[in-house]
Each structure stands twice: as C-alpha cells, then as structure tokens.
C-alpha cells in the first residue's frame, strides 16, 4: 500500500522532471547556440548543418569586439545610465509610494488613479514626444537624455505602495508617539523594514534599464555615446553581417546581467514575482 503510493508519486515526479528538463532545453538551447557560435569561425557558423561544438574554437571575435569597437565606452554608458535610472527611479518611486500609502493629502486618490492609469500606457506610445522633448532640450547624445524618459516605471511605485500598506499601522503610530518626523518615519522605520523590496526592485530596474534598446537607440547617434545594447548593432555595419562577431558582442553585452542574475538569483525571482503579481 505504502510502496504503491510512493511509486505513484515517483512516476508523477519523474514525468514532471522530464517535462521541466525538456522545457529547459528548449529554452536554453538558443542561448547555448549563440554562445557556441561566438567561438566558431565565420564560415563554420553559416554551414547548413548543426554542429554542437566549434571545429576550430577561436577567441578572435571577442578580441575584435574588445579592440576594434568602442565596447569600453558602451559599457561605461550602459553602467552609468542603468545606474542612474535605477537610483532615480527607485528613490522617487519610494517617496511617491510612501506618500500615497501613508500620507493623507487632498488629491491622493486622483494621484493614485493617475499612476495606475499611466501604468496602462506603453512607453513606446510616448516615444516620439520623448524624442522631440529631449531634442528640444538639447539632450540627445547625453546620459541625461538616455536616462530621463526611462524614469517612468509606475510598477515600482505600485509595489512600494503595496508593501508600505502592509506595514501594521502600529509602527507608524509608535513612531508618531516617539516624536518622529515624517522623514524619519520613512528613513528609520519604513525603509529598513522593507529592505528586501528595495533590493529586489533595484535589481529588476537595473536589468530593465540595461536591456533597454528602443529609446537609447533613438536618443543616441554618436557611436561613443551608445549604450551596449545599441552599440552591438554597430558591429555588423561595415562589411555586411558577421554572425559570430555579433554574437560575441552580444555575449559581452549580456554578461553583466547574467552575472547579476546569478549573484542575486533569489532576489530577482522575488522581484519578478512581485511585479508580475501586479501586472497579472
């Protein structure tokens, strides 16, 4: 009886495992393919049959990307703009989320609805306005120009508000009785009690900003001001398409994000669940 039961569970478990593994392979194969191809010679890449391993492994495409392109500047631009977007988005969203969750002021509801509504507007719709605006401000080809339109992330505000809502109101009341000013309540009670959310949101925002393509692509025309996502598209231009070379730069571009994923795996999953729950 007991045995039969364990066995049934094991069969179900095995089926699930097999399905998961197949899904993981389907999911991971293109990534594997891309990485492997970046180590192949250009003519190996375009062979009409599948080779799972490079015949003559080579680092020349990486060497090319690192020496013959401006990938160094692109990295710097990406890091600077992604960090800028992260710090500004998280800090402003935190303040807005706190105000909407904890302060009672006229117009609070309207503001909240506006934020929820802006969440429904895809940023692509606004991209022409953003371009005109940034161009008029003379900010094309600058970090500020890349950063500013990317600061609109209502979902970060929404997540913060929900977390602040969940803090039992006695903490606030205790702090009020303790003579704490609004800023001190925020900085000494609400932020420390929600460090997890801040970390998670920071990581996700950073990844969003790092992966951003459309806006940086429009906002920057000078090669040395490009972010890495835009920069890697430049590798092909001179003499048509070089697949291996492009893949090598793509691997380099994705590397920091992959590293971030690995280092903060749990937080990232948590953050994605948080924001997905809201988008859902």
């Amino acid at each position: 009886m007991n045995l039969a039961r364990t066995r049934r569970v094991n069969i179900a478990g095995a089926i699930i495992t097999v399905i998961t593994v197949i899904a993981a392979i389907i999911w991971a194969f293109p990534i594997y393919w891309g990485i492997v191809s970046s180590f192949k010679l250009e003519d190996e890449v375009v062979r009409p049959y599948i080779e799972l391993w490079p015949e003559h492994p080579t680092l020349r495409h990486y060497w090319f990307a690192l020496t013959q392109t401006q990938i160094g500047s692109w990295y710097v631009n990406s890091v600077a703009t992604a960090l800028g977007v992260t710090v500004l988005t998280v800090s402003t969203s935190l303040l807005v989320g706190y105000a909407i969750s904890q302060l009672r002021f006229p117009g609070r509801r309207v503001l909240w609805w506006l934020i929820l509504a802006s969440f429904m507007v895809p940023t692509q719709v606004l991209i022409i306005n953003h371009f005109v605006l940034i161009a008029n401000m003379g900010l094309l080809n600058t970090w500020a120009g890349i950063i500013l339109p990317q600061l609109i992330h209502p979902v970060v505000i929404i997540v913060y508000k929900q977390f602040f809502d969940q803090v039992p109101k006695e903490f606030r009341e205790a702090a009020v009785m303790d003579n704490a000013s609004e800023l001190r309540i925020l900085s000494k009670v609400y932020i420390p009690m929600n460090w997890g959310v801040t970390t998670a949101l920071s990581i996700v925002t950073f990844i969003w900003a790092w992966n951003a393509f459309l806006w940086p692509f429009l906002a920057v025309t000078r090669t040395e001001m490009m972010t890495i996502t835009v920069g890697i598209t430049q590798v092909s231009d001179a003499f048509g398409v070089y697949y291996a070379r492009q893949l090598a730069s793509a691997v380099l571009a994705g590397f920091p994000v992959a590293l971030a994923y690995l280092l903060f795996q749990r937080r990232v999953t948590q953050a994605i669940t948080l924001s997905a729950g809201i988008k859902g």
Partner: protein, 357 residues
C-alpha cells in the same frame, strides 16, 4: 491637581458617534482602568488622549496644558501597544532610544536613561538583542521600557497583556502593579478583562456604548454598581437578575419574585412597580430549613474552597448560589435559598440602580 482631564469630549467616525460627551479627571499617580465590552470605545478614548485620534469636541488637559490640538509626540504621554509595535530591525537599545534621538537628546543622556529602564525592568542582558530574539513576555517589557525612558506625564496601555499566555499574563500583571508603585506614574489602562481591572485599578471607568457608565474604585463598582449594565458586567460568575414586583412603604420595600416568594429589604426607591432584582451569588446562601425561596439544583460546580450551585426556581428563572467547599448538594436536589438582603439591588426599567442597606 488633575494630571489628565477630559472635558465633554466627543468623537465620531463619519456618522457614527463613538465617544459621546465624556468627562473624566485622572489624578497624578493614579492607575485608571477603562473597562468595557468590545466596541464600547475604550481604545478610541485612549487614542484620543494619545493624540492618535482627533477630538471632535471638548477639551483635553494634560498636566494643566490644553492638548487637544497638539501633536501626539508633544503631549508628553507614552503608549504601549497591544502588539508592542517594536521596530524589528532595531536592537532593544535602539528601540528604546529612538524616541529620545528624535527629540535630539544627547547620546550620553540617552544611554543613562536606557540603562535605568533596563535596570527597572530587569532586562539589562537583553539590550543588544533584536525583538525577534525575545519571548513574548520580554517583548512586552521592552515595549514598557520604550515608554519609561521618555519619563512621560502618563502611560497609556491598550490591552498590553492580551497577547500573553494565561500564566505569563498573571505574572506580568503583578509586575505592572509593582512598576506602578515604584515609579508612581499616572497610568491609564484599557482592558476588557475584569480581573485585570479589579486588581490593577485605583479607579475603574466603565464604558458602555460610547458613554461612561460608572467611575469608581474596584470595590465601589463591585458593591454599588450604578446601573444594570455595570452590575451584569462586573463580577464572575455574574450577578443574578430576577424579575420582581416591588411594593414600597417608606424606606422599606417588598419584592415579589416570579415564583411568588417575597423578599423584604430596606431600600430607598421612589415608587413601587416592576423592577429587576439583582443579587450576587455570594449573597445567595444554600440553607437547611426555611429560606427566602426554593429551587432545584441543576449544576453543581465544586471549586474546592467554595461550591457554585446553579438552581432553577419555581417559575423557571435561574439563580446561582454559593455554598461552602464541602457542599452536600447534588444535581436534582431541592434546596432552600436565603438572600442576604443587605446586598440586594433593584434596577428600574431604564437600568438605574438602587441599593439596599
């Protein structure tokens, strides 16, 4: 001089009145308990004193100063919350120091006060722990410590013991009483537990339905309840209530109970008529021979030192009587009951109480 004085204060949440025209004086050093059933407005009244709820009408004086429009932090009162509300990310020390840092006190003075509080509450060893590393009783102490360091004019407690288990609750109750004697501070304490109220209070304020029913010492409230509500709310097991027809002649009255038995008493009621007769179980004695009435014992609870005899009278009304620990009464027995007529109360239809001498 009154330390805290409420003068005709009222409060409503939207259209719902929660506090109706309450006046109350609390003396310096007094331990006052707000007692009442759930929803009677105890917490609201306490929070109005703290400043966590606004006062719609009326005045609040703390230490002679008008406070109804002053921010909570400026009122010089400290509050201990039911769930303690200790900041989880701060050590015990930082929890206690937080309020003092907010007013810019010097670190040296803060340290001295925290150390003092640690000594008073015997928790010096816990100062560097986080709340999550403390037991419920220890957290409770930290919550009190956080109030003590402020050296407030008054301590406000909202059901501070209700999260503790029974044994710890009794011990902490005793500790609170000792603390009150030691620091001689004004304390206002909200509870719906009458044992806490009876044991801790200098005076009990009984709240019901947004109003004060009675203010008095525990014994006054117990012995001379001002209303039918207070009589029924205070005391366990509760007072017996019997419908009766009262005939009055001067200072004497005779009550005829539902089963036809008559009870004579000396009491000052304005006129005869229908009253509810109230008598506590300890004033109803099981006697051999003639009593005031007879009933059938339905349940007998022997508590060791005394025995509670639940009886049903001829007309079906029930009376709880007290017998001594070696009671011979068994369920189904017919027992004679004698009322101690000096401990009778009559309640008119509006709930107003009259006490027999």
């Amino acid at each position: 001089m009154a330390d805290i004085s409420l003068q005709n204060v009222s409060k409503s949440f939207g259209a719902v009145d929660v506090i109706k025209d309450i006046s109350l004086e609390v003396e310096q050093g007094e331990f006052v308990v707000f007692l009442g059933p759930s929803g009677s407005g105890k917490s609201t009244l306490l929070r109005m004193i703290a400043g966590l709820e606004s006062i719609d009408r009326g005045k609040l004086l703390i230490g002679g100063k008008e406070c109804q429009d002053i921010a909570p932090g400026q009122r010089n009162v400290a509050m201990v919350f039911q769930n303690y509300a200790l900041y989880p990310h701060m050590t015990v020390r930082d929890n206690m120091a937080f309020g003092l840092r907010n007013i810019g006190m010097k670190e040296k003075d803060i340290e001295a006060r925290v150390a003092d509080a640690g000594r008073i509450l015997e928790m010096d060893a816990l100062l560097d722990r986080r709340p999550s590393q403390l037991s419920g009783g220890q957290r409770q102490r930290v919550a009190i410590g956080r109030a003590i360091v402020k050296e407030p004019a008054a301590f406000l407690f909202d059901e501070p013991l209700s999260n503790l288990d029974a044994a710890l609750r009794v011990r902490t109750r005793v500790e609170l009483a000792q603390l009150h004697q030691r620091i001689a501070a004004t304390m206002i304490y909200v509870t719906h537990d009458q044992t806490e109220a009876m044991t801790l209070a200098d005076r009990i304020v009984i709240l019901n339905d947004c109003r004060i029913e009675q203010i008095g010492t525990p014994m006054e409230v117990y012995t001379y309840p001002a209303s039918r509500f207070v009589a029924g709310f205070v005391g366990s097991p509760g007072m017996n209530f019997l419908n009766s027809d009262v005939a009055v002649s001067g200072k004497e009255a005779t009550a005829t109970l539902g089963d036809g038995s008559r009870v004579a008493m000396s009491i000052d009621v304005p006129e005869g008529g229908t009253y509810e007769l109230g008598i506590r179980p300890e004033a109803v004695h099981v006697v051999t021979g003639e009593g005031d009435t007879t009933g059938e014992a339905t349940v007998v609870e022997n508590l060791g030192d005394r025995t509670l005899v639940y009886t049903r009278l001829g007309d079906g009304s029930s009376v709880i009587a007290l017998d001594d620990g070696r009671s011979q009464v068994a369920p189904g027995d017919t027992v004679s009951l004698r009322f101690d007529t000096s401990q009778l109360h009559l309640f008119d239809s509006s709930g107003r109480a009259y006490h027999a001498d």
